[in-house]
């Protein structure tokens, strides 16, 4: 081997920064607004009663924890003051250009939510905390699968607006197959096939014909709505006993684990679909970032030409991953029918696919992030149901808006600048 060596590069002087970016006051303003709103509405304005009760254990728990009863106004006041303190902290951090961790929005959100619960549940029956969380997780299931689907497609460079259609197709086929075979599990097997078919259509038009992927996605959503609604009102409606009977997935209780107070019933008293969701999130979190498959998928989504020049087949990779993504969303679609124990109904996904897309972005194209975002949306969705049962002073129409308001605030206020895969939505043409 030759011993020629290169001369060391000239020392690069370290960057000395004299110019600073203007301070962004968005965070402090948002926090301040919500803390003040919490103080005025939940602590100072009169509530429906003087005491709020939180029920922590469910009836079947091994460890019974007594319900917690607090003074509504006092509890809300304390929490609102904490929220104001956090807003002050955010202001100080912005002023001194310090970065605070992700704990701040999480803690702030929890504090304001509890202040709200204290006010909303004042003088009403007890608020079931476990039920609230259990329902949140349950409602988050289709969102998680949808977000994972979007992540698989977009990480490989295909924009998947068709999540909604994939969920709906999965819900439909799961219901029909489960009904015909009288087995909810067969429905669970069939659902991914329906989603994969929608994914296949998406990727064919995107990769082979270079059609604008957003347009293809929207058209596919409409197509799936049309096809399932047509079959529903013709075939399914004619003989619902054969084609569209209810086949709920059984709840599988994991021994021991399900006895953990609060978390046990929430996490380990669920259907197979939820356990599959845990597995999907964990496996994807590992494989997207650590495996050969994940590396190639991300390379194709970031810089397809670079992938091509090292011998990776760009379009084949995209086709495979988009179909896989479709299958994942299809599986999530099974939630609406077999996991929820319902028969198929027209357009029963109700825009969940789009919320899933928001969860994917809020989770920064990251499985764990998507899970957290989906849980947030699931929680806001479930809050309205639980409060409806408890009985709150808020009109139900306004409560119906909650998930969407939370989505808009979360995406606009918290996401900030995120970086989508660089080649997302751009067809690869040599």
């Amino acid at each position: 081997m030759s011993t020629v060596t290169t001369k060391p590069a000239p020392a690069r002087p370290a960057r000395t920064t004299s110019t600073l970016a203007p301070i962004s006051w968005r965070g402090p303003i948002v926090y301040g607004f919500f803390a003040l709103a919490s103080l005025i509405f939940f602590a100072l304005l009169p509530a429906g009663g003087t005491e709020t009760t939180f029920r922590i254990s469910t009836a079947t728990d091994f460890f019974q924890i007594p319900a917690l009863t607090v003074s509504s106004t006092g509890f809300a006041l304390v929490l609102s003051l904490v929220a104001l303190g956090l807003a002050g902290l955010a202001t100080w951090a912005a002023w001194t250009r310090r970065r605070l961790g992700v704990w701040l929005p999480v803690v702030f959100g929890l504090v304001v939510v509890f202040a709200f619960l204290a006010w909303a549940g004042a003088g009403k029956s007890a608020i079931p905390l476990t039920g609230l969380l259990q329902g949140s997780l349950f409602l988050a299931v289709p969102l998680v699968f949808g977000a994972l689907s979007g992540l698989l497609c977009e990480r490989s460079g295909i924009i998947n607006i068709a999540i909604e259609g994939q969920l709906l197709a999965g819900a439909f086929l799961a219901a029909v197959v489960a009904s015909v075979t009288s087995s909810a599990y067969m429905g669970l097997v069939a659902a991914p096939i329906a989603g994969a078919l929608v994914g296949l259509l998406l990727v064919i038009f995107s990769v082979k014909y270079w059609v604008n992927q957003i347009i293809v996605g929207v058209v596919l959503n409409v197509l799936v709505v049309g096809v399932t609604s047509y079959l529903y009102s013709t075939v399914l409606a004619a003989d619902p006993a054969t084609w569209n009977s209810r086949n709920p997935l059984p709840v599988i209780e994991i021994p021991v684990l399900s006895q953990i107070p609060v978390l046990g019933p929430v996490l380990f008293r669920q259907t197979l679909l939820v356990y599959l969701m845990y597995a999907a999130v964990i496996l994807l979190q590992i494989f997207v970032f650590k495996s050969r498959w994940g590396l190639r998928m991300r390379a194709v989504g970031e810089h397809p030409k670079a992938a091509d020049t090292v011998g990776i087949k760009v379009n084949v990779t995209r086709v495979k991953n988009t179909i896989l993504g479709g299958a994942v969303a299809g599986l999530g679609g099974a939630f609406f029918t077999v996991a929820a124990g319902l028969a198929f109904g027209k357009e029963m996904t109700g825009g969940k696919g789009f919320i899933a897309l928001a969860a994917m972005i809020l989770g920064r194209w990251n499985p764990m992030g998507a899970l957290a975002a989906a849980l947030l949306f699931g929680f806001s969705d479930n809050l309205r149901t639980v409060l409806g049962i408890v009985g709150t002073p808020i009109p139900s129409q306004i409560m119906l808006m909650t998930p969407y308001v939370v989505t808009i605030f979360a995406v606009a206020g918290l996401v900030g600048k995120v970086r989508a895969p660089a080649a997302n939505g751009i067809p690869y043409v040599k």
Binding site: V4, T6, K7, R12, S291, L295, K305, T309, G311, I312
Partner: protein, 537 residues
């Protein structure tokens, strides 16, 4: 490994990019492929690399005909390529980029990170590259990114390494290091194909030179051939390699930038407290490696970027805060860096492009309606004046060659009375003939008494045009130096070394190319200056 190309032909639509090209690369030689922009060098290498299918011809490896269905097969045959635009995923680490496509795996398809890192370290140590396998590629300077590309090729046991315009993004010192690496690889038995249009580099490193013009091999040359001869072979006629330029006669300083700062979307200062002024009748060239804030500086002057601090004054009038149109109306002529996206509208006709920023004014329009005949007359006049080669003025400007597109931009921007001319990369991607034309126009504008700012990353262009040079590094001006400053000094300044230190370092050791220049000066067998004198006589 011996590599041979026989009769390679590649056609894109009506354009014959490669026309029966024959080329032999002997084992362990540095073979330079010299040609102008658009001569077909990169196409040829993309064919060789399996990225394009040739329409005709054969590739032989060690005298055995081969066919590559894709880059993967070319790589397997021992051909590695370092692309002009790096084929690196910016958000991956060095190790991930090197491993991509042939990842070492342990069970279940998980990547064996330690093996991937070890491979990078091994090659990096062998050649003294000092590349950290865990560094994120987007955080690395271009010179280091290029080494990552070389490591990538070597990790696949490349025995022929194609370097496509490798020096385009490097400072002279980085170029020097690259030349050392090339010599080292050659000593280790690797053949190198060195694609370039820069004559000095070719003469410094090549063992043999093949010249390509308009898709055809027009000749081969020895490295001892003079630059003038190589240039005329490359262009097809005798050319002058410099610009005829009288010394500047600067008047009063009418344009000034004071303490200007611009911040990018993530909050990093990209222009950082920049301070300079330009006088009437002088050319100030802003030099620096691409991505050190020159683009943002130019855009801030025109009003495309909003500075966070500082002022820009022209004839005593503040430009910061006024819109782009107001800046143009104040007499600023702006030639943008990327003409195809910012300078012209490709699907519009030549005549329309010639009045893009004038159509809202009489005589080109009245009461909101275009005055077609005035626009036509204007176009007819300009294409003669600026020697725009187009069939008609109605032709879509996108169908013209790069040089003619640039002339359209210049014609538009310089056809109004100017108080300042600001041109970014005015000759990027142009052929030698167009470069000569553009340069002479810029000098003529200076001689009219207009202050001129040129932003350029090409050192040849910097030295050809500049009366003064402002060198930028990471958003700051390292120093403003006279137009005849030594290349090596400029190169060091482009890497952030302050002027006095740069002078001292450059005196200590010259770069390979710098030494070649000195030798040429000491023994002028047939230098550029001679050639120019001959032409004048």
């Amino acid at each position: 490994m011996k590599l041979e190309l026989r009769g390679i032909t590649k056609v894109f639509g009506s354009l014959v990019a490669n026309d029966h090209i024959d080329l032999v690369i002997e084992p362990g030689e540095v073979h330079a492929l010299l040609g102008e922009n658009g001569a077909g060098k990169s196409t040829l290498m993309n064919v060789l690399y399996g990225f394009y299918d040739p329409d005709d011809g054969q590739i032989l490896v060690d005298d055995v005909p081969v066919e590559f269905a894709g880059p993967g097969e070319a790589m397997a045959a021992g051909i590695g390529m370092v692309h002009q635009h790096f084929m690196l995923v910016p958000v991956f680490t060095v190790a991930e980029n090197v491993a991509l496509g042939h990842e070492p795996v342990k069970g279940a398809g998980l990547i064996d990170q330690s093996k991937a890192r070890a491979l990078v370290r091994e090659i990096s140590d062998r050649f003294g590259f000092e590349v950290d396998p865990d560094a994120m590629v987007e955080d690395l300077p271009v010179g280091v990114q290029q080494r990552v590309e070389i490591i990538k090729a070597l990790s696949r046991d490349a025995r022929v390494l194609i370097l496509d315009e490798p020096t385009a993004v490097l400072t002279p010192q980085e170029t020097d290091e690259l030349i050392a690496i090339m010599r080292q690889l050659k000593a280790a038995g690797t053949s190198i194909v060195f694609i370039t249009h820069k004559l000095r580099e070719v003469r410094a490193v090549a063992d043999r030179i093949t010249v390509i013009r308009r898709g055809k091999v027009v000749g081969t040359a020895e490295p001892s051939t003079s630059e003038t001869e190589l240039a005329s072979l490359m262009v097809g006629r005798s050319v002058s390699l410099g610009v005829e330029k009288a010394p500047a006669e600067p008047g009063e300083a009418v344009f000034a930038v004071r303490d200007l700062s611009v911040i990018d979307t993530v909050g990093t200062p990209v222009v950082d407290g920049v301070d300079f002024e330009v006088a009437r009748g002088e050319i100030l060239v802003v030099a620096g490696v691409q991505g050190n804030g020159q683009t943002e500086l130019a855009e801030a002057i025109v009003g495309l970027q909003t500075p966070v601090a500082g002022s820009i004054t022209l004839d005593g009038k503040e430009l910061v805060g006024s819109g782009v149109l107001d800046v143009l109306r104040a007499g600023v002529g702006y030639v943008p860096e990327d003409r195809s996206t910012d300078g012209i509208i490709g699907t519009f006709s030549v005549e329309e492009n010639l009045v893009l920023d004038l159509v809202d004014q009489p005589p080109f329009s009245r009461g909101g309606a275009l005055n077609k005949s005035v626009i036509r007359d204007n176009a007819e006049k300009r294409i003669v004046e600026y020697d725009v080669r187009t069939q008609t003025v109605e032709a879509a400007v996108g169908t013209l060659s790069g040089g003619n597109q640039q002339k359209v931009v210049l014609a538009r921007e310089m056809s109004r009375p100017l108080r300042l001319l600001l041109a970014s990369q005015p000759t990027r991607g142009l052929d030698v003939g167009s470069i000569e034309f553009v340069h002479s126009r810029i000098v003529a504008e200076r001689d009219n008494g207009t202050p001129v700012i040129i932003v350029s990353t090409e050192l040849d262009e910097v030295l050809a045009l500049a009366d003064r040079i402002a060198v930028m590094y990471r958003g700051k001006i390292v120093g403003i130096v006279p137009g005849d400053t030594d290349r090596d000094v400029l190169g060091l300044m482009m890497a952030g070394v302050p002027l006095d230190e740069a002078v001292a370092q450059a005196a200590e050791h010259h770069t390979v190319l710098g030494e070649a220049d000195l030798e040429a000066e000491a023994a002028p067998s047939h230098t550029v200056e001679d050639a120019r004198e001959e032409e004048i006589q």
